[in-house]
């Protein structure tokens, strides 16, 4: 907190995401989720429960929306289903998790800076700093932030269920907001290991719990800053660009080929999600 500091780096401090932002990202972890492959089986969601110490809230609390599905599988039906007798075209499944937005609406509204952007491009939640104003959740267009309405350590893991808890991450107590972290503990482990071995993190060296579990490998995880990574290639192939990559003016209409399947959910809000989805595919049989 000195004026020196302010004048020295003024131009850097004045950069928004369109100009590349303040961070020079080391990594920008991202995903590509192929809805053509997703079968809606919940394996990713359970993997998330196992990896991230998510609390089971029970029926009563579930009914009030207190559940903790960091990774949830949404199921939609065709819009014109109202006219059809049967859902001939099946369901639409959408695995929805924190989109780790580059321009996350949740970040600027937190009064105590408990949610912030890491140099890894992650939208991090600092549990210890969180005071539970829940403003971030209100401002999240994807509604993927989950609040500890109760003290789950008191109820969710009766002995000896607590022995299963992952010691790499905390158990959150009441009054704290939580959400998908892209399995930050795995990222940290991989980065530490790479650092010890004096090398860069390799693509595919680790993955998130959900991507690991997915039976159809619909979830691809990797570093969007690594030009060689499978995820980057998918993004490039489907012509989806990050904001810090495309610069000004930010456009959500950057696909040259509309037949390509890449899109980001609620792209028009300019949140710059790190999760790209690939459109579901259906045979035209009706």
């Amino acid at each position: 907190m000195s004026l020196d500091n302010l004048t020295k780096d003024w131009s850097r401090y004045r950069k928004g995401i369109e100009e590349g932002g303040f961070h020079n990202y080391e990594h920008r972890w991202g995903m590509a989720i192929d809805l053509n492959a997703c079968i809606g089986c919940n394996a990713c969601s359970t993997a998330c429960y196992a990896e991230n110490n998510l609390a089971v809230v029970g029926k009563e609390r579930f009914s009030k929306g207190h559940y903790m599905h960091w990774m949830r599988i949404e199921r939609y039906w065709d819009e014109d289903q109202a006219r059809e007798e049967f859902p001939d075209q099946g369901a639409h499944f959408l695995p929805m998790l924190c989109q780790q937005c580059g321009a996350a609406p949740c970040e600027p509204v937190c009064p105590v800076a408990a949610t912030y952007h890491t140099p890894d491009g992650l939208n991090a939640q600092v549990y210890n700093r969180c005071i539970g104003s829940r403003y971030c959740s209100n401002n999240c267009p994807y509604r993927v932030r989950y609040f500890n309405f109760w003290s789950y350590p008191e109820s969710a893991w009766p002995e000896p269920l607590n022995l299963q808890l992952n010691p790499d991450i905390t158990v959150r107590d009441k009054g704290v907001m939580e959400k998908c972290t892209f399995c930050v503990q795995r990222i940290r482990t991989a980065k530490d290991k790479a650092k010890m071995e004096n090398r860069k993190v390799k693509d595919g060296e680790f993955t998130t719990a959900c991507a690991q579990a997915c039976p159809t490998s619909a979830i691809h995880f990797g570093d969007l800053m690594d030009a060689e990574s499978a995820v980057t290639q998918l993004w490039a192939k489907h012509q989806v660009k990050r904001h810090d990559e495309q610069g000004l003016p930010v456009s959500t209409q950057h696909k040259q080929n509309p037949a390509l399947r890449g899109y980001r959910v609620l792209e028009e809000l300019n949140t710059d999600p790190s999760v790209m989805y690939l459109e579901r595919v259906r045979e035209e049989l009706a």
Binding site: M1, S2, L3, N5, L6, D9, W10, R12, Y13, R14, K15, G16, I17, E18, G21, F22, H23, C101, G102, A103, A104, P105, C106, E107, P108, V109, C110, A113, T115, Y116, H117, H243, N270, D272
Partner: protein, 176 residues
């Protein structure tokens, strides 16, 4: 001559009190100027005060300085705090966010202004203080008082002047 005494005259009729001050102003008592007059009244009396002439009030300078300090100081404070706290949330926004900083500086300008006005008021009004022993509780009811600081020779003329203007009560004390 050295002012040694203070007298208080209480008036029920505000016009009489005003006239008494005009009389003092007109130098009816030698050596006594309007600057030696203090008016104490239960309500704001612009018309009585007018008789006392121009007595400058400087509280607005306090206000201005306080407001300016609040505005500039808080802007620098907040901006430099932001520049020092780099793990701040970004949301795609710059580290030093001018817009929100101006909103906060605006509030701080007002707070600075109000607080310095208070200080200016207390300094200017010489508060807190102990009311002088000449003070009469009737002043807080419905009477006006005129306090004069006098030397020994002026006491009697002053009392007479008060009496001419239907003074209700006269109190007197020796200055220390």
């Amino acid at each position: 001559m050295k002012k040694t005494r203070r007298i208080l005259g209480l008036f029920g009729n505000f016009d009489e009190a005003t006239n008494a001050i005009y009389d003092i102003r007109a130098s009816k008592i030698a050596g006594l100027s309007v600057d030696d007059v203090t008016l104490i009244s239960p309500i704001e009396h612009p018309e009585v005060e007018e008789a006392l002439g121009d007595r400058p009030v400087r509280v607005q300078y306090f206000t201005f300085c306080g407001g300016l300090f609040g505005l500039v100081g808080s802007w620098l404070w907040i901006s430099s705090a932001q520049a020092a706290f780099l793990v701040q949330p970004q949301g795609g926004k710059p580290v030093v966010t001018l817009v929100s900083n101006f909103v906060l500086s605006y509030e701080m300008m007002i707070l600075g202004g109000v607080l310095s006005t208070l200080i200016g008021f207390l300094v200017g009004a010489r508060l807190p203080s102990r009311p002088s022993t000449l003070y009469s509780e009737k002043v807080s009811l419905d009477q006006v008082g005129i306090i004069l600081e006098l030397d020994d020779t002026q006491i009697e003329p002053a009392k007479n002047l008060f009496r001419n203007h239907k003074v209700l009560e006269i109190r007197e004390e020796v200055m220390k």
